[in-house]
Symmetry: D2
Subunit: 360 residues, 4 copies
Amino acid sequence: MILFFIMAGNSFGTLFKLSSYGESHGEAIGGVIDGCPSGVALDMEAIQRDLDRRKPGQSAIVTQRKEPDEVKILSGVFEGRTTGTPIGFAIFNTNQKSADYSHIKDSYRPSHADYVYDQKYGFRDYRGGGRSSARETAARVVAGAIAKQFLAPISFQAYVSQVGEIILDKTYDQLDLSLAETNDVRCPDSEVAAKMEQHIKEIKKQGDTIGGIIDCVIKNVPVGLGEPVFDKLHAQLGKAMLSINAVKGFEFGSGFHGVTMKGSEHNDAFNTDGSTQTNFSGGIQGGISNGMDIYFRVAFKPVATVLQSYDTIDKAGNAVKTQGKGRHDPCVVPRAVPIVEAMAAMVLADAFLFNKTQSK
Amino acid sequence: MILFFIMAGNSFGTLFKLSSYGESHGEAIGGVIDGCPSGVALDMEAIQRDLDRRKPGQSAIVTQRKEPDEVKILSGVFEGRTTGTPIGFAIFNTNQKSADYSHIKDSYRPSHADYVYDQKYGFRDYRGGGRSSARETAARVVAGAIAKQFLAPISFQAYVSQVGEIILDKTYDQLDLSLAETNDVRCPDSEVAAKMEQHIKEIKKQGDTIGGIIDCVIKNVPVGLGEPVFDKLHAQLGKAMLSINAVKGFEFGSGFHGVTMKGSEHNDAFNTDGSTQTNFSGGIQGGISNGMDIYFRVAFKPVATVLQSYDTIDKAGNAVKTQGKGRHDPCVVPRAVPIVEAMAAMVLADAFLFNKTQSK
Amino acid sequence: MILFFIMAGNSFGTLFKLSSYGESHGEAIGGVIDGCPSGVALDMEAIQRDLDRRKPGQSAIVTQRKEPDEVKILSGVFEGRTTGTPIGFAIFNTNQKSADYSHIKDSYRPSHADYVYDQKYGFRDYRGGGRSSARETAARVVAGAIAKQFLAPISFQAYVSQVGEIILDKTYDQLDLSLAETNDVRCPDSEVAAKMEQHIKEIKKQGDTIGGIIDCVIKNVPVGLGEPVFDKLHAQLGKAMLSINAVKGFEFGSGFHGVTMKGSEHNDAFNTDGSTQTNFSGGIQGGISNGMDIYFRVAFKPVATVLQSYDTIDKAGNAVKTQGKGRHDPCVVPRAVPIVEAMAAMVLADAFLFNKTQSK
Amino acid sequence: MILFFIMAGNSFGTLFKLSSYGESHGEAIGGVIDGCPSGVALDMEAIQRDLDRRKPGQSAIVTQRKEPDEVKILSGVFEGRTTGTPIGFAIFNTNQKSADYSHIKDSYRPSHADYVYDQKYGFRDYRGGGRSSARETAARVVAGAIAKQFLAPISFQAYVSQVGEIILDKTYDQLDLSLAETNDVRCPDSEVAAKMEQHIKEIKKQGDTIGGIIDCVIKNVPVGLGEPVFDKLHAQLGKAMLSINAVKGFEFGSGFHGVTMKGSEHNDAFNTDGSTQTNFSGGIQGGISNGMDIYFRVAFKPVATVLQSYDTIDKAGNAVKTQGKGRHDPCVVPRAVPIVEAMAAMVLADAFLFNKTQSK
């Protein structure tokens, strides 16, 4: 063995921080959460509920792999309340059978991380993608679910707004967001949801995959969260979202559409209480929350694993023909909704704690 | 005085790190650059050239404010070469005259940071926006220009691809990017550039402002840069771009458009040398560079300062009428081109150094 | 519940980093190790060997509590080699029976962390000291044992040089350090070791405790490790040692004795190969290793838990009389030897990786 | 030029953070201070007073080099108060004349950083020691002086307790510490101070140098500062002190002497108000301040620069004879007193801000 490289960047946040570990088919996925304040009466069911929204096998339009994804808390909680100390946790992998990975082991799946991992680290845990698997996001959901609890009444609601060409053509304030969880695709408009589900099923039948967009709204945010230069609140949200597997874009407030507007149209006029009449700013001005709703959109590419035959190369650089197989998501957005919320909650938790470093 | 708060987030990067300081109309803007390797023969003219691309007063379509923006290196360079020690630098403000800030001092400009700063810090240096001014980005340009030098032959080229509704409808590989610097708007297609300039002049005449988009291409990137979980290379690029004043969105590779594609279309098939036949991935797979060109797009909202009269509130929450004045940019993108490049170079420099933490 | 505080500082290191979790009598003690290079053929027995050197019940002069302290690796290792990804691990607590903690629960043991924890966090996991227990150092031993493996041939050897007034009056180069592990007290001089053991047994009989000193030597260190301003190699070693429970002092090279020397005596004259004729510098000059042996000394106070009756206060501030009980160490140094080595190895691992951030 | 290395570790602190820059004979020494809360009415004279206590040429027993060491604040202060934004500052070097450095340029001074710098960075700014010069500590004194201001009424008092073999044989509570600043050596006992001064003068006459010890006391510390695992308050203090040039050892509370005590003697019995009857703990228990005085001791080796002739090697590894010259300190402790205080204040400032991350 000659290559000798480290992997950095397995922690997220500064004061509220998740350090995650785990490979798709290793012993466990988990992490250490630093910075959860002491005294939080932890609602374990709420944590599990978010994990269940992410877990495989939950509906007909997601991967049929089975993982119970039950979290085991190893530290940091005593007599039902957080003690302020690190919360260690593990989600043991029950579905570790080594199946048939020969098509992954020696050849590189296009648009996956296989090739770059081998180039960077010399070898890789190829079972189910190893560390590059989106299974890693289960740890994020745990940390986000805990953040949500101590941040309440700040609330986080994500939903699917686009699948392929099927677009939910309403803004969040025209929708009853509580309906998002009433259908498998997690779109709050039942008619559009039905079309999306139908489309995903067709795509799946083709052995293909399709992309989508998730919108997220954060409500009841106090004025003052966020650090205004490099760590602007929306910059942290953007990084958080772009760190989720398959994400290709992020916009907040007026976003890409805002570039076509004039300043006189785009400026959010004040009410006398400091709130604004419009909210093109998306709840953040100068990198700091202004008390209005924060909203943003996240673009997900189609999943790279297609159940079709394709041409690729092996480790030695030979052209090979391979057949995609296994149980995979035809579209990632229904299961990614709780991940988007979790990352948003972690960003807000960190900003919230930074905003406490004052002395009156 | 009662409020007592800190501002975090004035540093960017871990191994290659800029810690910036300075207010728009204070004594100086500057910073400390950590992590520049020893032995770099520093090209001071190249640094100044990038500063000149950002500086006010450079053309008819940008603010007519005058600042020479000359950088003074205070440490870290000896006999023309970097010593590895921190590079302290300052750009002294020559244009500090306190003008007339009465319209800013006691009332809040819509969609600026005035209101949130006062809420968070209790008071603010209101002269020219203080710390929230985009003048702070001059420090970034210095750090980025130094990063570019030790990263060569990795190259960074940004350009304007949209101003308001005027769109440059070509991909970067259909353009001669070297032409971007031949016109004031920094668009590599001279016909489109002319339209953009014309449009900006009209907007300016109205005392209004308009948004735009900047594209950026990074070439000659080795395989292996980027940390694949929370610090994915594109997540760091996204945070970097979203931390620039007025940015509302970021996408890379296939971006938002990619959501409408199928996996079978979107996957980048390998050539036998590990390069790919298409590049929807945007040069990054699983958060790690794969050796293909990295490209991304950044959306800028219209500048909030309009030279029109508008309604707003004062510190006491009274409705007041104000008149915008001063010398401001009608469109921020021409001057933001070197800022985008600088932030990209800082991200790559950090990733480059992390990728050296190996031992063969 | 009203109090709401976080605990920071549960991670050690930057590039090679341990994030630890766990309470004395919680579910598990463990951590996440970031920055172990890929490709290390992990010797699990060597890790367990260091844990065994630290574990309770190993001899007559340490606590008779029984804990097998078996480490379970949860991620980061594939086919026997590290993959570069985070190494998650857990040592499950088998000895969790809640015994009788009434004497700890409501009153504060003098010179323990009980009082300050309650003041800072509002309440605490009082079972066996909770997070403040030295049981937390088991996680450090795991991380240090892994660091030792990829740092070889750099070697780490700690030993006991003083127990109470019994002093090993020889320098490390006058001793055969391999003898340290041949007796229970871990002193490489068997005669002195016998006296120390005898003394500890007497102290134990009194229900009392006694302090001691551990010396540590690091050999085969390359020139160049350490960052020369705030993160001087010896400053990192000092912090590492002072973060171990019960440590009250740290000195390296000539240490406190060096203050009585003249510069002309203290200066280490060079040999022509860059090595030095004396080594008062302790292997570090200007914060950077110079290739000579690094050596330092660590002072441990007597353990605060005495098995005698004592006066103290309860939560309400009432004076109460209490009786110390349980199974405790009469002297901490024999078990602290592998902890000192582990912290030293973590410091060197971090410095080693920082020293790789170059490009030739 | 081939070597290509970075220098890390030029920042100190997390929430209250100094990022320093500057070489001994470069343009300027300075830094950026992050985390000073907004609204502090800055006493510039107090800052200068601490700089004057550190500056060369202040008395007959320190180096006769002349540097006014006047600090120029470049940002972060508006209308006399801090704004919460980074405080950039510079101390311009007025004494840059390149003198005669031939004896330093090509040969290595024993027990200096010359050799390791050249080995690590390939070359160095040899003028006056460059970055390795203790001149860098001027930046620390500025940051510490600002920390002291917002931490009041927490107070910091350091003093000289030993020079060579001359020992101030009293504990801090037996002394009137305000007397420390009434003599050149900064020892609060005038008789002992006179002996120390006399000794330093003799040493100086010999062209030699001598070591010493500085004690420091921190009063009015609230309960609860410090993070109890890796970032124990005394571990941070230890690192801070060991990062000062020439420091070889650190102990707090009972320190090295404490190892000879029994637990029953060493334990600090509580008063009913939570204070303790003795203070062997040195004001810190379990890494957290307990409200008692914090006190510690710092050992400084003799300065390496002796004004005698000595044998050494040049860059090529040839043995050469050299003559020490220039204006140097015969004993570093009189000028190091404000540096010790400054580092202590920075540690407390960081701990203070971390201790604010709560929400009641």
